[in-house]
């Protein structure tokens, strides 16, 4: 079956939210490998246990860009604990679904966030 992106994915592809990096971020997570065609970096700013700002940079397909963008939107303003609970399935659902072949992109976005949070936690133990 041909690959079809939802309208929501295409919207995020067209105008992704929160693109960029944060200088002096409280946590940074980078996952993926250019050889596989996907690399994601997530930058978070944390105040009182709340993610007040988040930015991403992504090298990858439309789904990779859209899941990164959607993740940043979902996370902003949430507590670390809440953010950690976001699953790949929630992410895909918020995007009105992802083609099967692209589901790994939602995993990548979750991983990137978790890595950024781990980085933050490591620095603020």
């Amino acid at each position: 079956m041909a690959m079809m992106y939802s309208k929501k994915v295409m919207e995020h592809m067209e105008s992704p939210k929160n693109v960029g990096s944060i200088e002096n971020a409280d946590g940074v997570g980078k996952v993926g490998n250019p050889v596989c065609g996907d690399v994601m970096s997530m930058f978070i700013k944390v105040e009182n246990g709340i993610i007040t700002d988040i930015k991403f940079k992504t090298y990858g397909c439309g789904a990779a860009i859209a899941t990164s963008s959607m993740m940043t939107e979902m996370v902003k303003g949430k507590t670390i604990g809440e953010a950690e609970k976001i699953t790949k399935d929630q992410l895909a659902k918020e995007l009105d679904g992802l083609p099967n072949i692209k589901l790994h992109c939602s995993v990548l976005a979750v991983d990137a966030l978790h890595k950024a949070i781990a980085d933050y936690k490591g620095k603020h133990k």
Partner: protein, 380 residues
């Protein structure tokens, strides 16, 4: 928004003359060519005229043309047909072939045939010596494409065919991208595959040229259509459409090629002004309508989707690659690193492409590349 179609290697817009030629055989003249009655005989005649038209332009006998449903089917028919007929032996092909040749050959490998994939150089060219060295006494078939679908590189099939024939091997060429776009000599060729939808004909019809005197096991056994090589009630409308498309393509082949080359070269020149970009494939020895670029730090799919938002319809490489996530096997075969192969953009021109289209692409592309690079963590 005006839409600019630059994906003519994926498929083309059927010409109005083709649609017109097909219509009667879809509506009033719907006979089955195997039927003995008048309408059946009328359909059979139309089919045989179409066969003769294609044969004339290809330079074969009419009875050497076998209609099939696609380029993929033509290629599978040859590869498996020779293999099943010979029962064992060595098959040679090369690394930048279309997926259908690659995967059919790999499958034959799993069925006990010996397979060699020849390497190409960094322009995608198969060298004669490479083939000569790979030839064995038990080589039954050599299959080398006439021109590549992703990078447009043209192979010296006439000379490669001669080398195959120095041994006992048969020689096949996948001319799905080349047929009707450049002259092809059948001198050293035993089998040739073509597909109508790459040439402004309908989807769902192709042909296989098979030299007289060579027999292969059919892939579709059945009622004995196409002299026993390819059974199925014939798609007469599609066949008539393919013949019309062939006739028109050959009539204007030289002038259209020159026109597309001029446009394409101006496009290449403009695009290469973008920083960290390069041309994939051979600089000159390539299909008239093909341009394939690499852009460092960005991934091709994003590029295609964003160009689409600007009304430009392009491709990352082979259309089929949207079904898997691996970087183009064509580009990696030429020595590109995986991350560079992920960033390719194929722009393939067609009959309706204009200078204004090229200008529009050159106006839009730098910004799109820029915006994706701004988003890329690889530039850091």
């Amino acid at each position: 928004m005006k839409r600019i179609y630059l994906d003519n290697a994926a498929t083309t817009k059927p010409r109005s003359e083709v649609i017109e030629a097909m219509l009667p055989y879809q509506t009033e003249k719907y006979g089955n060519p195997s039927s003995l009655h008048s309408m059946g005989r009328e359909a059979a005649e139309a089919m045989e005229e179409s066969r003769a038209t294609i044969a004339k332009h290809l330079g074969s006998k009419p009875e050497e043309i076998y209609f099939v449903a696609s380029g993929t089917e033509a290629n599978n028919t040859v590869l498996k047909g020779v293999a099943f007929q010979k029962k064992k032996g060595h098959i040679i092909t090369q690394t930048t072939e279309h997926d259908c040749v690659i995967n059919a050959t790999k499958w034959l490998g799993s069925q006990g045939f010996d397979i060699t994939f020849l390497d190409v150089d960094d322009k995608g060219v198969v060298h004669e010596d490479t083939l000569r060295e790979a030839m064995r006494d038990d080589t039954i078939l050599v299959s080398i494409m006439a021109a590549n679908n992703e990078i447009g590189t043209i192979q010296a099939i006439n000379r490669l065919g001669a080398i195959a024939h120095e041994g006992k091997a048969l020689f096949h060429t996948d001319a799905v991208q080349a047929f009707g776009k450049m002259p092809l000599s059948l001198e050293n060729i035993d089998f040739l595959s073509a597909s109508a939808h790459k040439l402004y004909g309908p989807r769902g019809v192709g042909f296989l040229f098979k030299r007289d005197g060579v027999w292969i096991t059919p892939l579709l056994h059945g009622g004995g259509h196409e002299r026993g090589l390819r059974s199925s009630t014939e798609n007469v409308a599609g066949i008539v459409g393919f013949a019309k498309a062939t006739e028109l393509a050959f009539a204007e082949m030289g002038s259209e090629a020159a026109r597309e080359i001029a446009l394409r070269d101006s496009l290449i020149k403009g695009v290469l002004e973008i920083k960290d970009s390069w041309l994939n494939g051979h600089p000159t020895n390539r299909l008239p309508n093909n341009a394939n670029f690499g852009f460092r730090f960005i991934e091709g799919e994003g590029l295609v989707l964003r160009l689409d938002l600007k009304g430009i319809e392009a491709s990352t490489g082979s259309a089929c690659s949207s079904k898997n996530l691996r970087p183009s096997h064509v580009l990696t075969s030429m020595g590109l690193k995986a991350e560079d192969a992920h960033g390719s953009l194929r722009l393939t021109l067609g009959r309706e492409s204009t200078k204004a289209d090229m200008d529009y692409v050159l106006e839009m592309l730098p910004g799109v590349v820029e915006s994706l690079r701004a988003m890329s963590p690889l530039t850091e």
